[in-house]
Amino acid sequence: MLRRVLLSPAGFVGLLLLLMIVGMALSAGYFFPKGPWALVARPYMWPGQRPGLLFGTDSLGRDILAAIFYGSRVSLIVGLVATVCALAVGITVGSIAGYFGRGVDAVLMRITDAFQTIPGFLFAIVLVSILSPSVTNIVIAIAVVSWPPVARLTRAEVLRVRETEYVQSCKIIGMSTPRIILTQVLPNSLSPVIVVAAVLVATAIITEAGLSFLGLGDPNVMSWGTLINVGRPSIRSTWFICVLPGLFVVMTVLALNLLGDAINDALNPHFRKR
């Protein structure tokens, strides 16, 4: 399966780009020991204007390249943790609703509907502003707005698996319900959910950048969105302050989407020719 992902061009390029971003996140402290907030030169220096400042400086004279390196940490951590939380909630709700059906299903699915009806980004803004902006709260907000599709997908799969003969026979031999769900139903219904996970990470990264762009990011960490927000007032002249971190957001999301497509193709070989 991993080989199949790597052999497709999309999977290869996606993985390569993603490894590069991960490399940036890991090496940020090594290349920029002074951190992303240090003032290194005059403000608004254009990229390449002075050797050693490849991406120039922002409105306070901070090194943009350093900010981008440290920003990749925030994006990756928020993306990963928020996705894990969303998966945990979504899989739990979806499998309970799908396995037990009837009343439980109706109640849980109407709650899921309600969450899906509220505009996700707007809801995230409200949550972050009520809970106060911090990395933890941003992760919570993103998880709260992104679990419903996972729940729906898991439910649909569980509904299918629940009726299979091996699950029926587990019931007959008296296996306990939690054990059936955890050892029989879930392992057989999670592969479409894995494909969604890559897209969820990408969406979480976009949401975090959007929140920071609006000024709702954690004031104690430098993220790509923060930098875009810093550069926005001077967009008429020094537009590179916005565009450079923006390109990294696009690149990361692109890498995750490519990887998601490749995993999807590897899991569903019949669709590969499309």
């Binding site: 509220i118 409200v126 959007g210």
Partner: protein
């Protein structure tokens, strides 16, 4: 069949009502997550209230009642259109939101229309030339659009078209301080809307192009398409009359699923282009800590989205009479 359809609509309406109630209860719970209540806000603003006056005010607005009673009052209030009062703006939340709603609806409707039109066109075109260079190019462009967040598209378009080329206005909905005839006004608004609509729809163009291409490829393999060709119909007739009609169904479903996301994206677009819509209102009220107003925006948007989804379900049954209307 008609009775069937009515039954289905009744069921959907009931379902929507349940969902609205859950959203309202959720909004009440959020309102109580906020430290301090309405009277604290008022007190903070006036700065000269004593404990006695605050207690009187709490009694008057029912804030000293048990939580369940307050919840009941809130839900019945919302169902009657009372979304609370914004002390910052000295106006009811409902009228503030309704003033701003038209601009957002205009933005969202235009964006959906543009996205569906360009997206399906590109998707159908790519499917017609599958695996040829033009298909590969479209797929790559779509991949980049799909990865670009709304605010980056917006900022990029501002830099290119407003700052560098000076072709289009940077923000706002109409040019202020100019007397215009109706026709000029429409033209002016359209000019102001080009960039916001483009930046909001680019991501969705990508989604619909992918979807239309995939479902078009699937449909083109069906027997009835071969039959249509075999009985001598022209290519365009087969594509538009037979294939597209069926390939559009997934696109319509997707629009319904994404209408909520579009309202979220509108916050970013309206902020970048300073459009007077509800998204901008929500953004401003976040920084003024005007929670009743933010939640009012959230509630009204949810109502609109539920309504749109009901309408889309209707369109769906019209597009495809075979659709199972049992659930």
């Amino acid at each position: 069949m008609n009775r069937h359809l009515l039954n289905y609509l009744g069921w959907r309406l009931l379902q929507s009502l349940v969902v609205i109630t859950i959203v309202v209860i959720g909004s009440f719970m959020l309102l109580h997550l906020v430290p301090g209540d309405m009277v604290d806000v008022l007190g903070g603003q006036r700065g000269d209230m004593d404990a006695e006056l605050m207690a009187t005010l709490r009694t008057r607005y029912g804030l000293d009642q048990p939580m369940l009673v307050q919840l009941f009052n809130y839900v019945t209030g919302v169902l009657q259109g009372d979304l609370g009062y914004s002390f910052r703006n000295s106006n009811t939340v409902l009228s503030l939101v309704l003033q701003r709603l038209p601009a957002t609806i205009l933005l969202v409707v235009c964006s959906v229309a543009v996205a569906v039109f360009i997206g399906t066109l590109a998707g159908v075109f790519a499917a017609r030339h599958v695996h040829r260079p033009i298909d590969v190019i479209i797929s790559m462009v779509v991949l980049v659009f799909y990865a670009t967040p709304v605010f980056m598209t917006g900022l990029g378009l501002v830099i290119i078209f407003s700052v560098k080329l000076k072709l289009l206005p940077v923000g706002g909905l109409i040019t202020p301080g100019v007397d215009m005839t109706t026709l000029q006004l429409v033209g002016d608004v359209a000019q102001h809307l080009i960039l916001p609509v483009l930046s909001l729809s680019l991501f969705y163009i990508a989604i619909y192009a992918r979807l239309a291409r995939a479902s078009m490829l699937q449909v083109l393999n069906q027997d009835y398409i071969r039959t249509a060709y075999a009985k001598g119909l022209g290519t365009s007739h087969v594509i538009i009359g037979h294939a597209l009609r069926n390939a559009l169904l997934p696109v319509v479903t997707m629009v319904g699923l994404q209408i909520a996301e579009l309202f979220g994206g509108a916050v970013l677009t309206e902020t970048i282009f300073s459009l007077p819509g509800v998204g901008r209102l929500a953004y401003d009220s976040v920084f003024e800590r005007d929670y009743p107003l933010i939640l009012g925006v959230l509630l009204v948007c949810s109502f609109v989205i539920i309504l749109v989804n009901l309408i889309i379900d209707l369109i769906y049954t019209l597009l495809d009479p075979r659709v199972e209307v049992s659930r």
